[in-house]
Symmetry: C2
Subunit: 340 residues, 2 copies
DNA sequence: GGCAGTCGTTACAACGATGTAGAGTGAACC
DNA sequence: GGTTCACTCTACATCGTTGTAACGACTGCC
């Protein structure tokens, strides 16, 4: 059937180990021998059997990336960054979706695919922050995102609290006094929702503004639709609002949609800030001010950490917080410079 | 190091082949034996070594999916659908990005990863329609998208011409007489851009309307930004326009953005229709009328075809055209029902 | 000229699973 | 009562590669 090293070796008149050596770039080979082997490889169209190599080496050259949903823009862009970073280091990425379902997250951790990958980048949404024992696995693991940061594993995270604080402070500096926030997960004491709410409250406190629960809108899934629904609820409640902090861009874009529909001027009547700086933020109407959470840096750092673990580096669990940046656009601009 | 079948066999007091039989659900095993093996597996935490199984069986249980860019919404949603379809059939998907670069597309076809997957779903953008010989590969291959449909392989495609015709006809029915189209690739004689332009022209002809090249806007990459730029060019050109057909939703959404900025009423002054029905189409302002191209059906069909090829089905190349649907929303509605 | 060290190559075992062939039971059949 | 058959299990070879050990040839050095 398929061409193997034996075929190449026979054709080139050398041993299979020499073929292997050529394929793997072993130094000490006579140029003449190398040429003969390479010719034979080309003539026969030989390709290394990766399964055999994997078995022999005990590695697969693949890493897993488990995210809630690949079609959520943030995770699509994260996956993109991770794939590029991994590829640059000679690794392939196997993407898995958890659908933000607890049982699927558990499955991902224990699945057979773990024997197929050398390690896992895992962005959990539903696992309980206290279940850190679940993360005590026998393969290299690096966490992404905000949950369970007390766990026994490496963790790459964004500066949720600080960035939310900066986003909220930005609105306050622009003159907002009644800043609503969309995306809260009531009852949680960890995770992005909790942390971003924390940053929001900190900014209010910094400015000496009161915290008003009526300005906090829940949203389980962080989609445009839930953001739109939350914004509608806020408006219908009659509470006074002059600024909105969306815990992610999808929520904020959903909110923008409702504000537009209801003929509320943005940013004049209500200014809006999002979080994630997805590509769409540049193309909304008005363009959305957002927090760029350092996605490239997160991807690179996480891949590097994972590959270090795979290589056997044995140091205590590390935690990296990526740099963020507030990207100011129209949705929070004030005055004559609002529209070009 | 890792637990192998030998360890399990020793513990259960059976041969490794019996362990293998239990793991693989072989029928003729005494319940007592089966229990002992399963207990041993549980106690030792044994997991099958997939690399070894792959080597022995000559299959990997993985299929490749090569798309231009995972962060383009259409492809993110397609990847989602493909992963679900594959998973339901016991396969894992390995995603690769070509970045819509010709050399990367060639690479994907010849890459070592092909020995890692049992087959490939390939959505080419840049390969020349005449280079069908490039697709004469020695592994199962199913094409997605519109290019190279004369090739020697299975192909799953959307009804580009018919759907574009329907989209354009929809605008004409709504009263448009000067329908612009955004996304053309001048010089091409195949591919989505060519086909969708074809459908556009067919609809004009059906309605007895003239084809005016001044209404055709080129856009290499189908992004929001290029759609916005093309719309701006159309408006600046001074040509009369009362309808816009965006060859995909990103282009149409970019166009909407510009129309909004320029204070052009949609749909009253210019009606807009997109193509792909991505999630965002529901959340734009106004909501975007679009063509739903049958993504789920495409994913399911393509995966099924590929798995058939992998299983060895030997029939002539097949071509499947998915069903489409026009989803009417605000951007092409007329009259009092425009806004809720 | 002898010794050490490098170079180029080879033979062989090993990675961990599964396919094949067949051995040993016991039940069913004529 | 012997033959057949189904059942249960085992021994062994095998998938295609790479790591290890080792061998002969050559170089450089004293």
């Amino acid at each position: 059937m398929a061409v193997t090293m034996y075929d190449v070796a026979a054709r080139a008149g050398v041993s299979i180990k020499t073929v292997s050596n050529v394929v793997n770039g072993y130094r000490h080979i006579r140029p003449e021998t190398k040429r003969r082997v390479e010719d034979a490889i080309a003539e026969l169209g030989y390709k290394v059997n990766i399964s055999a190599r994997n078995l022999r080496q005990g590695r697969t050259g693949m890493i897993g990336l488990a995210v809630p949903e690949i079609s959520l823009p943030y995770f699509a862009e994260l996956a993109d960054s991770v794939m590029r970073a991994a590829e640059a280091r000679g690794f392939v990425v196997l993407i898995e979706q958890t659908g933000a379902q607890r049982d699927r997250e558990l499955q991902v951790l224990a699945s057979n695919h773990r024997r197929l990958t050398d390690g896992l980048l895992f962005s959990p949404l539903e696992l309980d922050p206290e279940e850190t024992h679940l993360l005590d696995v026998d393969y290299p693991l690096v966490l992404l995102g905000e949950r369970m940061f007390g766990g026994p594993v490496d963790h790459v995270t964004m500066a949720n609290v600080e960035a939310s604080r900066a986003a909220t402070a930005h609105l306050i500096e622009r003159g907002c006094r009644r800043v609503a926030v969309i995306g809260a997960h009531p009852g949680e004491t960890m995770g992005s929702a909790f942390l971003r709410l924390d940053g929001y409250r900190a900014a209010l406190a910094d400015a000496g503004l009161p915290y008003d629960p009526a300005l906090v809108a829940d949203a389980g899934l962080w989609h445009r639709s839930t953001g739109a629904a939350a914004m509608a609820r806020l408006l219908d409640s009659g509470v006074e609002i002059d600024g909105v902090f969306g815990m992610n861009d999808a929520l904020a874009l959903g909110a923008l949609h409702v504000l537009h529909t209801r003929r509320v001027a943005v940013p004049e009547e209500i200014a809006v800030v999002g979080f994630d700086d997805i590509d769409d933020a540049r193309y909304s109407e008005p363009q959305l001010t957002s927090i760029a959470p350092g996605r490239e840096q997160i991807a690179r750092t996480a891949v590097d950490m994972l590959l270090e673990r795979i290589a056997g580096v044995d140091v205590p669990p590390r935690r990296v917080v990526a740099d963020f940046e507030l990207v100011e656009r129209e949705s929070s601009a004030f005055g004559a410079d609002v529209l070009r």
